[in-house]
């Protein structure tokens, strides 16, 4: 072991101005490269790619046999077949899993590796650790989702031989953005659990339990509660129908899964003219036609804002609990 005292380059660097605030950038770089090199990321990507390919195959055969509508590219995203879900449905189901996979061991893994201690003793702000983790996961999800979206478009151009219209491009980009926010919510939630639970497995199980509940059982719960409060049998049922439906819808909309599905359907199908209840009198005199992009966007604006809010809330909880947590193991 040879001792060498400060070499010339050393004193040069310590004499110069050091950029200490670059900690965030360095952390982000490391986290992102970790994600993009991880087996887990490849696995999720392969799973989604497989699902996308299957749904594309089903979708294309349906479109070809039906002759296709006015917005063929959008149909690529929303059409499945009798045997397979559409791309949008697959994303609604599997997107959360990708978000959870990238976040469930974000903090507790650092803790169990013993790297968290080392990290917090560097001259960086503590919140840049969790911010970088979230942003890196967010970026990785973006790469994944936009790659899949462009893959669908590419296959569409090759097999259908038509270029997409500008309107379709806007709608597709909005849809992909929506998906990005949707998966980011699950990323935030799983990071929250990774802060709260010492074991990665516990955190993953919690996140998956919530995912299953909100995706599969929330509609049952919403229906049950709505029927309990506003029964629809008998004479009173006629009066309750409206309240029942509205309560059901409101409860369902708590679930990001429902919000996403509703918004995705609206933005990808210009023929969807409204969300929720429309009375017969409101429909009187309406001309059946497609909604322009701006109007569709207006319809899903609350959904988008709601999902962003949910994501922020999940991340804020993770942020606060991380900042308040004792570092010692």
């Amino acid at each position: 072991m040879l001792a060498r005292k400060t070499a010339p380059e050393d004193s040069a660097s310590s004499g110069g101005e050091k950029k200490y605030e670059s900690g965030m950038a360095a952390l982000f770089r490391k986290e992102l490269s970790d994600h993009l090199n991880s087996r887990r990321f490849y696995l999720m990507f392969a799973l989604l790619l497989l699902a996308t390919t299957a749904s594309l195959a089903g979708g294309i055969s349906s479109i070809v046999s039906s002759g296709g509508g006015d917005y063929v590219y959008l149909e690529l995203f929303t059409t499945g077949s009798a045997y397979i879900y559409s791309f949008a449905t697959f994303l609604a189901f599997l997107g959360p899993l990708a978000g959870i996979a990238l976040g469930f061991d974000a903090v507790n893994n650092e803790r169990s590796l013993g790297t968290l201690n080392r990290l917090v003793s560097q001259p960086i702000y503590r919140d840049s650790i969790i911010n970088a983790k979230f942003l890196a996961g967010f970026a990785a999800l973006g790469v994944m989702i936009f790659a899949l979206g462009l893959y669908v478009c590419g296959v569409g151009i090759i097999t259908l031989g038509l270029p997409p219209q500008a309107e379709e491009i806007f709608r597709i980009l909005t849809f992909l953005l929506l998906t990005w926010v949707y998966t980011a919510f699950w990323l935030g939630l799983s990071i929250l659990f990774s802060v709260l639970y010492r074991h990665a497995a516990t955190a993953a199980l919690c996140a998956i339990a919530i995912w299953l509940f909100l995706s599969l059982f929330m509609s049952l719960v919403a229906g049950g509660v709505a029927n309990l409060l506003y029964p629809t049998d008998g004479i009173q049922g006629f009066f309750n129908t409206m309240s029942n439906y509205q309560l059901n819808l409101a409860l369902n909309r708590i679930s990001p899964y429902y919000l996403f599905s509703e918004a995705a359907t609206t933005i990808l199908s210009p023929s969807v003219r409204s969300i929720g209840v429309v009375t017969t009198s409101q429909l009187t005199g309406a001309v059946a036609g497609y909604l322009p992009f701006g109007q569709s966007l207006l319809l899903i604006w609350p959904h988008l804002v709601g999902m962003i809010a949910l994501t922020m809330a999940a991340f804020a909880c993770a942020y606060i609990s991380f900042m308040r947590q004792e570092i010692r193991a």
């Binding site: 005292k5 050091k18 200490y20 013993g114 790297t115 080392r118 003793s121 560097q122 001259p123 960086i124």
Partner: protein, 339 residues
Amino acid sequence: MGNPIIKTTGLSKRYGEVQAVEGLDLSIREGEVFGLLGPNGAGKTTTTLMLLGLTEPTAGSAWIDGHNCTREPIAVKRIVGYLPDNVGFYPDLTGLENLVFTGRLNGLTDAVSRSRAERLLERVGLTYAAGRRAGAYSRGMKQRLGIADVLMKDPKVIIMDEPTLGIDPEGVRELMNLIRQLSAQDGRTLLLSSHQLYQVQQVCDRVGIFVKGRLIACGTIGELGRQLENDGRFLLELQAEPMDEALRKALAAIPGVKEIQPAGDSWEIVSSRDVRPDVTRAAAERGAAILSLRQRGGDLDEIYRQYFEKAGDRDDNHEDARPENGSGGLRLFRRRKKV
């Protein structure tokens, strides 16, 4: 010795019912190697965390190089390197990459980080493993990588929490050499916390004995030893052949001897003065051969134990002075002064 660089006044930390650290007043001078000694759970780690601003003290304050550790943690962390007791690295990155990452977090450019990391790896003797994944490093290698990691920021002050834990004797010897170098050649200040006394004794300028959140003694090892001798308590360990009742009576008759207790295959003689010459003489008169005679009190083990007894806390690990009592015990090695 320079000016005080680490200073705490009335530093206290309470976790619910447990008082982890109580009214700690500590002053460590620049360039000094200070050993914070105490059994597990004495509050050593809590103290180091408070010095780094990672834990907020309930009362009192800590200052490093003029920066308040609680209020300006970033300024403190720029000049303080911290080696946690269970240092870990990203297993998928190589040793070199782990160091370069730390360099980046400290605002170094990639080129500077890289060359510094390479030099430090050489210094800790890990050049051969620089390109290996850190996940494949052994405990001792990780510890050395940890030291290189701490040095990446070129710190003025280095805090090491249990640096010798789980390292083999050869590794410990190298570590102690390195610590001495860091202090003597680089002029850095070191604060070591440990419960392994023998190792710390070799390398520390001053030690503080920490029991149940309180610093019960502080000073150089010589000072602490003298302090105890003034209390008039000498302990002699004797092994002779034969060790019979006659010899025992002869020894008990020596003026100053208070008590003779059998301890394993030897006797512990408690006295109020240095009775070594008398013991040798008495043994020779009886025709007994002395196999080993050891005055205890000069080494840290004994100082520690006696302070411990004085504080009224007797650790169970401490009851038995045999080195075999290794697991989680107070010592790894035992220096035996044979006469």
